[in-house]
């Protein structure tokens, strides 16, 4: 089971340009809202027509602009779970699922298949309920059961957890992971939440402004993102533009300091990124990879303290990149006040070299 997507679509000042391939796995499309993730799913489902490109699922072509192939959504056999679950509000749970079993699948054993779906998705006892009478979790299970009733060759989930509050969300995430484990074929999982993607998905395709990055494993995205956009999506907070000064030495232009890196600087590296919780205060005022800073602001988070710093070498009136965000345990932050001078160390192994 595979999916191959290579599509382009021009939407005025927004250009969608996405290529990826997925196997029997959970592939995440990770990106900020408005980056084209949902549009990509709609193109695969046949709701939106791309300007050019190909979409192939399990060897059958769903869309090919050169050959003039554009199957209707009904013929694509692609399951799409909408963020609001899109259950028909005028039908009961049973009617919602039976509509697919009897009208689409024309199953002789529809009632028996309905029973087994109810058991598999824990909706037994809810058959006569209308969607408005169900909780968010129940609606999600019914929507998944309805999709599975249509025997899709792949399934796509469009931000399935983002409309929920954090407690309910965790419950549903656990349920969702369990149900996805039972589905053997390709699953595309759209989300803007990096933590969720890290927990649920095998590989990830980072998207920004309609453009898709190269697919990589989730570990790779979080440990060694290759581009500025990917680092952003992985949650990295601190960036500086760089100038290469040696084989493994860069000058961080926004921070006004030379830094030693743990690896050779690639020719196309244009930025460095450092995660907020890898930066730590040190006693010594000077030395290798030590940045003297002024404390701009101290903020208490739930389990840590966030300290905003301005490197002393930063150009006056510097831009947003110049500020460094440091997250440290609360005990270590005791005694640090706004206006103090603090030196912080950036370990060479924590510096991520990023291309544009």
């Amino acid at each position: 089971m595979t999916i191959l997507v290579d599509i382009k679509k021009n939407l005025g000042n927004f250009k969608l340009n996405v290529q990826f391939e997925a196997r029997d796995e959970i592939l995440a499309l990770l990106g900020a809202s408005g980056c084209g993730k949902s549009m990509t799913l709609k193109c695969i489902a046949g709701i939106v027509k791309p300007d050019e490109g190909v979409i192939v699922v399990n060897g059958s072509t769903l869309f090919d602009s050169k050959k003039g192939i554009n199957l209707t959504p009904q013929k694509r056999n692609v399951g799409l779970l909408f963020q609001n679950y899109a259950l028909f509000p005028n039908m009961t749970v049973e009617e919602n699922i039976m509509a697919v079993l009897t009208r689409v699948k024309k199953a002789k054993d529809a009632p028996a298949r309905f029973r087994s779906l109810c058991e598999r998705f824990y909706i037994t006892g809810l058959e006569r309920h209308y969607p408005a009478q169900l909780s968010g979790g129940q609606q999600q299970r019914v929507a998944l059961a309805r999709i599975m009733a249509s025997d899709p060759s792949i399934i796509m989930l469009d931000e399935p957890l983002s409309a929920l509050d954090s407690y309910l969300r965790w419950q549903l995430e656990l349920e969702l992971i369990q149900m996805l484990e039972d589905f053997p074929a390709t699953t595309l999982y759209v989300s803007h939440n990096r933590d969720e993607v890290f927990r649920i998905c095998d590989r990830v395709c980072a998207m920004s402004a309609g453009h898709a990055e190269k697919v990589c494993s989730t570990e790779e995205l979080f440990e060694k993102p290759s581009s500025l956009a990917a680092a952003f999506l992985s949650g990295c907070k601190n960036y500086s533009r760089i100038e290469t000064r040696g084989q493994d030495v860069v000058f961080a232009k926004d921070w006004g300091i030379e830094l030693l890196c743990a690896e050779r600087v690639p020719a196309n590296a244009a930025y460095i990124g450092v995660r907020a919780h890898f930066i730590a205060p040190v006693r010594a005022g000077e030395g290798q990879n030590i940045v003297p800073c002024r404390v701009l602001r101290v903020m208490q988070d739930v389990f840590s303290t966030i300290i905003m710093l301005l490197p002393q070498g930063a150009a006056p009136g510097g831009n947003d990149y110049a500020k460094i965000r440091m997250e440290i345990p609360k005990e270590e932050a005791k005694g640090i006040r706004e206006g103090d001078t603090v030196s912080v160390k950036i370990q060479p192994r924590d510096i991520m070299l990023l291309k544009r």
């Binding site: 709609k42 489902a45 046949g46 709701i47 209707t72 959504p73 009904q74 013929k75 694509r76 056999n77 692609v78 399951g79 799409l80 909408f82 609001n84 899109a86 028909f88 509000p89 005028n90 039908m91 509509a99 697919v100 009208r103 689409v104 699948k105 006569r128 209308y130 408005a132 009478q133 169900l134 909780s135 929507a143 309805r146 999709i147 009733a149 249509s150």
Partner: protein, 233 residues
């Protein structure tokens, strides 16, 4: 008291509402899908009868279906009946005048319909016909009913265009509204009052119905709420 005007008004309004019901839904459904520019043009043309003075609609109608008009003369010549000055002439007038009410109300309902329901149905493999009749129509039910009731009320009260194409023939083309005007001209206030009260009663019922439909339409659907159709919780 001769009840013919009530019977005739109800007959004309029912038939024209029946026609408008299908025409309005058909137009709303297909125009919602047309490109923006065409949609704008068609929208203006179809809504025009709502803002034009009814006498202007009547004038155009007379010029078209009158015995000398292109349609009227053809029908008279080939099928041998007159399209004006009969009871059914009022149907032509009221259908045109009520059409925009139905069309616009239904279009509003279609536009506020959650399209993800349609898309999810399509990706599940359900046919567009099934989705139209079993998903779109039931979920736009209140809007469609409200449009129908409004169209019916407007048809009952239509005067301007109707009087121009049917005239006033007691026992043949008289409707409630044309009767009230005629009675006032004759100075028969007592009878005119009776018909005015009949009219008030009908309008009252219609408006209460519309309000009830609109309240149901806008009432939020909470979790665990009692189902209004089946009474199930």
């Amino acid at each position: 008291m001769d009840w013919f005007p009530l019977y005739n008004s109800l007959r004309v309004a029912s038939i024209s509402t029946f026609i408008t019901f299908f025409l309005g839904i058909f137009a709303a459904h297909y125009i919602a899908k047309t490109p923006r520019l065409l949609k704008g043009v068609l929208d203006v043309i179809l809504t025009l009868p709502m803002v034009l003075p009814p006498t202007v609609v009547g004038f155009f109608l007379l010029k078209t279906i009158g015995p000398l008009g292109p349609v009227g003369s053809w029908v008279l010549e080939h099928w041998g009946f007159k399209m004006t000055m009969t009871w059914y002439s009022a149907i032509f007038a009221t259908t045109i005048v009520t059409f925009p009410l139905m069309y616009r109300t239904v279009r509003g309902a279609f536009e506020s319909f959650d399209t993800t329901l349609l898309y999810s149905g399509q990706t599940l493999g359900l046919s567009n016909t099934f989705l139209f009749w079993r998903v779109i129509m039931p979920n736009c039910k209140q809007g469609i009913l409200a449009g129908t009731v409004l169209a019916f009320a407007r048809a009952l009260g239509e005067y301007g265009a109707t009087t121009m194409v049917t005239g006033y023939i007691p026992g043949r083309t008289a409707t409630i509204s044309t009767t009230v005007y005629q009675l006032w001209r004759e100075g028969n206030d007592a009878l005119a009052y009776k018909w005015v009260f009949v009219n008030l009663a009908i309008s009252f019922v219609v408006l209460v119905t519309v309000n009830m439909l609109e309240n149901r339409y806008t009432r939020p659907k909470g979790r665990g709420q009692q189902n209004s159709l089946t009474g199930e919780v």
